[in-house]
Structures are given as structure tokens and as C-alpha cells.
Amino acid sequence: MDFYFGLAQIIGVHTLLGLSAYILLLTGQVSLAQAGFYAIGAYVAGMLTVLGGWHLVPALGASAVCGAAVACAVGFPALRVKGLMLVIATLAFGEGVRLFFFNFDYQIAKGDLKVGPLGGEGFRQIRFFPENGWSTFEVMLFIWVFVAGAMALLWWFDRSRYGTVLRAVGEDELAAQSVGINLTAVKVSAMTVGGAIAGVGGGLYAHYTTHIEHSSFNILVATFAIAYPIVGGLRSVFGTLLAVIFVQGFLIEGLRFLGDWRNLLFGALIVLAMNLRPSGFLGTGRRA
């Protein structure tokens, strides 16, 4: 049973990652920076619980704040450019964050053990869950409280004027500014909310794996982040959830028995899914 709880943890954390890209995709912006915010959230929460002795909940709050603050700061310059230029700019940011953590040492002695991030060796012993005796099931429930919270928040946005404005910007920026919408404010706010969600996701990730390193936040993670909402469709947040279940549950875990053939089939099935549903599982009927 623990296998399935573990899988549900992965799906939960990746849903947060996908949702952080979802809100920005509503405005038509493709960002490869989400893995960077995810990494910042992971290291911040890990350092606070391990080095600072914090409880995990306030540590995740700090992850959200740091993710949001960095996303907001990056958003102002990055969102001035569009399309491929934005992809390159955000990719550069994500890689910058990864390389920062590759070189980041901050260890302190705890008993006979030195703990904390150690460059390329990574950051081990993020043991909040085992130290407090949480079972896999409890950890899974804890993660899903945050997933449900993030989904509820974005679902609510979708029904508010704010969410409608995000979609209007995604449809036609020129018309949007002509009807009085401040493009910069709208895009940066979406980036900020996405940064907070990715930060929380990263904090949860660090604690269920107990060990993070720079390569946990590479370009592949950034690609997954935007692939989920695109495969799932932008009609609602449930599309992203469905896509994560499809990719992590079915393609990665469900096809494990195929061995090396899995990777081949993985790409083919994504291509097939996008051909059958060009605007995503829960699409808007147009190409995303």
C-alpha cells in the first residue's frame, strides 16, 4: 500500500508544479522558470526545518513567500519580452538557480553530524517526517491538503474577474490593454502566484524525498511543469491534475514493467495524447 501512497505524494507535488505554470499559461506566457521557484522553495523549507528547527508548516509558508518574491522580481524584467524570448529568459533564470545551489555550501554541526546544503553533494537529512514519526499515509494526506488548497484558489480565480482578465490577456494583449487592463500588473501577479505555489511544492518535495540536490531541479522538471497544463488543457485546474496522473501514474509508474521500452513509449504516448486532444484533456477547443 505504501507504494500507492508514495505515488500519490509524487502526483500531489507535481500537481503543484503544474498549477504554478497553469496560472501563467492562462495569460499566454510560457515560463521555464518554475523549476527555479520549486528549487528555492525546497532549499528554504529544508534549511528552516533542519538548520532552524522550525515546524514544517511555517517553513512552507516561508517557501511560498520566497518563491513569490523571487517570481515577482524576475517577472518585471522577464515579462517585458514575449514568446521564445521569454522561454529563453526564464530558462536562463532556472539554470541560474540550479547552478547557485550547485555551488551553495551552508553546513552547521548538529551533534557529530554536519547538516545543510553541500554544493554538488546536495542537501541530505531533511528528516522532519521520520523524526516526527509521520507515516507515508499521513505525509500523503498532508501534501494533498496543500494541493487541494492550491486547486481551490485557482478554481476560485477562474470564476472571478481576475481569472477572466488573465484569460483575456492570453487571448489578445493588444485588445486587453486597449480596454484598460494593465498587462504588466496582470502578468507579474500571475507569475507571483505561480512562484508561491511552486515554492510550496518544492518545500513538500524536499521533505518527502529527504534528500535534494541541484539536479532535482533541472530543465526536465521545468519542462514537466509546463507540459502538465498543456497536456491537461487550460479549461480548468482539473486538466492539470488529470495530466499529472496520466504522466506520473500511468506513463512513468504504470509502464515500469516495460523496462527500457518505457521511455520510447512515453514520448510516443504524449504525442498521441496531444494529437487526439490538441487543446488538452479538458481543452478549450482551440490549440493551446
Binding site: E171, A175, G180
Partner: protein, 249 residues
């Protein structure tokens, strides 16, 4: 109301608008006509801030607009429609109007939370009169992309009005319309004037321009070649030459 002072906009060597002086009085319907490529749409784009002027200035109600970005000009009271319709196709008719409620009055009336995160309750009633005015009440929940051409033109006008403008810039609103639709458009434009909206009408369809405007300016190669009442413009020799492709002497 609106004053353009030796306004120019060049694209490389092309002088799309070249030293244009224009004054639109409050309450007027002001026509801007001229052959294709004479700078009419560029003028509208410069007034709304989509293009920065190369030289010259724009005064709106005595205020210089140079420092205001496009979305702030709407808040100041300038709304527009587009020559090639630009609706939010995947939003419904009423959502197209909802996102456009950005007048200074609307922003001041609602708190931040109600305005951005409040739901649709109440708003649907507010935009009812606009939908009635545009004859779109029965299409309220239809996606904008699924509307017929004439309905899309009407929705674009309604969306501009959702911002409660003092000055409305209509960029070829009658393009592609049949004469019955043009008649309805004329009625709507005249009703708007009664409500105190000043209108700058860029149009090719003479049937409409000559029927509703108080005053007309004629552009050719970015410069104003004539200005006057519709009757004066129709009789103006330079206009006939530029616009009707030269007069047989």
C-alpha cells in the same frame, strides 16, 4: 476635448501621420476620412498610446497624454474599437464586457477584493443595459468567437462602452456591414451623442460619415488637406481630387 498638435508618426521613411493639427469639441461627432493608407488608423493608434508619436503632442481635456500608457488612457476616458475586430473569442459575450469595466468610476466604486476576486453576482445585471443597447441580450452566454460578423462588431462597440468613455474612437465600424446594419449603427452613434459621448469616427462609408458627423477632417499622405462641415467637405475640390481619384477638369 481632444487636441492634436502637429502630431507626427513616422515608420522609417514613411510619414504615416505628418504634422496633424486637429481639435475635437466636446459633444461633437467628428469624422476622419481619407484614402487607404492616409494615416487614419495610425492616428487612432497614437491617440490610444499603442504607438508613441514621433513628434507633436496630444491633449485630452487639457491634459497631455504623452506620459500615460495605453491602459491609463482608457481610465482617463478614451475607449476605442478596432478596424479588424479584436474580441476575446474564448470568453463569453458578457465576460468580454466584464473585463472591460475599467473606468475610473468603476475602479473607485469597488474595493480591491470585490473588484478582482468577487464573483459575477450583480455584474451580470450591470451589463444588462449595454447588451440591450447592442441587441445582444439573447447572446449573453455565447462565446464571442461564435457570434456572426455583425454581432461581433456590436459586441466590440459594447465593450468600448463598458469603460464608460467620454471620447469614443471608432475605427471603421461600418466596414463589411450591409445598409440595414449601417442604419442601426447610425442610430446607436446618435444615441451615444445624446448621452454626451464625444465621438471620433474613422470611416470609409460616406453614407454613414456624411449622415452623422458635425465636422470632418480629410487626411491624405498623413496630412490634413481639408476640414469643415459635411457639406463643405463634399464640395471641396482638393477632397474630391484626393478621395475620388481626381476630378475630370
Amino acid at each position: 476635448m481632444l487636441e492634436l498638435r502637429s502630431l507626427s508618426r513616422h515608420f522609417g521613411g514613411v510619414r504615416a501621420v505628418d504634422g496633424l493639427d486637429l481639435t475635437v469639441q466636446e459633444g461633437q461627432i467628428f469624422g476622419l476620412i481619407g484614402p487607404n493608407g492616409s494615416g487614419k488608423s495610425t492616428t487612432v493608434n497614437v491617440i490610444t498610446g499603442l504607438f508613441a508619436p514621433t513628434a507633436g503632442s496630444i491633449l485630452f481635456r487639457g491634459q497631455d497624454l504623452a506620459a500615460l500608457p495605453t491602459h491609463r488612457r482608457l481610465r482617463a476616458g478614451i475607449a476605442r474599437t478596432f478596424q479588424n475586430i479584436r474580441l476575446f473569442g474564448q470568453l463569453s459575450v458578457w465576460q468580454n464586457l466584464w473585463v472591460a469595466q475599467n473606468s475610473a468610476e468603476d475602479q473607485a466604486r469597488q474595493g480591491f477584493f470585490t473588484r478582482w476576486l468577487g464573483g459575477q453576482r450583480g455584474v451580470r445585471d450591470e451589463i444588462g443595459p449595454l447588451l440591450e443597447f447592442s441587441g445582444l441580450a439573447h447572446k449573453r452566454d455565447e462565446l464571442a468567437a461564435n457570434l456572426a460578423f455583425g454581432e461581433q462588431r456590436r459586441l466590440e462597440l459594447a465593450r468600448a462602452l463598458a469603460a464608460k468613455p467620454r471620447l469614443l474612437l471608432l475605427d471603421e465600424p461600418a466596414a463589411g456591414m450591409n445598409s440595414e446594419e449601417i442604419g442601426q449603427l447610425r442610430d446607436r452613434i446618435l444615441k451615444l451623442r445624446e448621452r454626451g459621448v464625444t465621438i471620433l469616427l474613422v470611416e470609409h462609408v460616406m453614407e454613414l460619415v456624411m449622415g452623422v458627423t458635425d465636422r470632418i477632417a480629410v487626411l491624405n499622405f498623413g496630412q490634413k488637406i481639408a476640414e469643415g462641415t459635411p457639406a463643405e467637405i463634399q464640395a471641396h475640390p482638393a477632397v474630391r481630387k484626393a478621395y475620388l481619384g481626381g476630378e475630370k477638369a
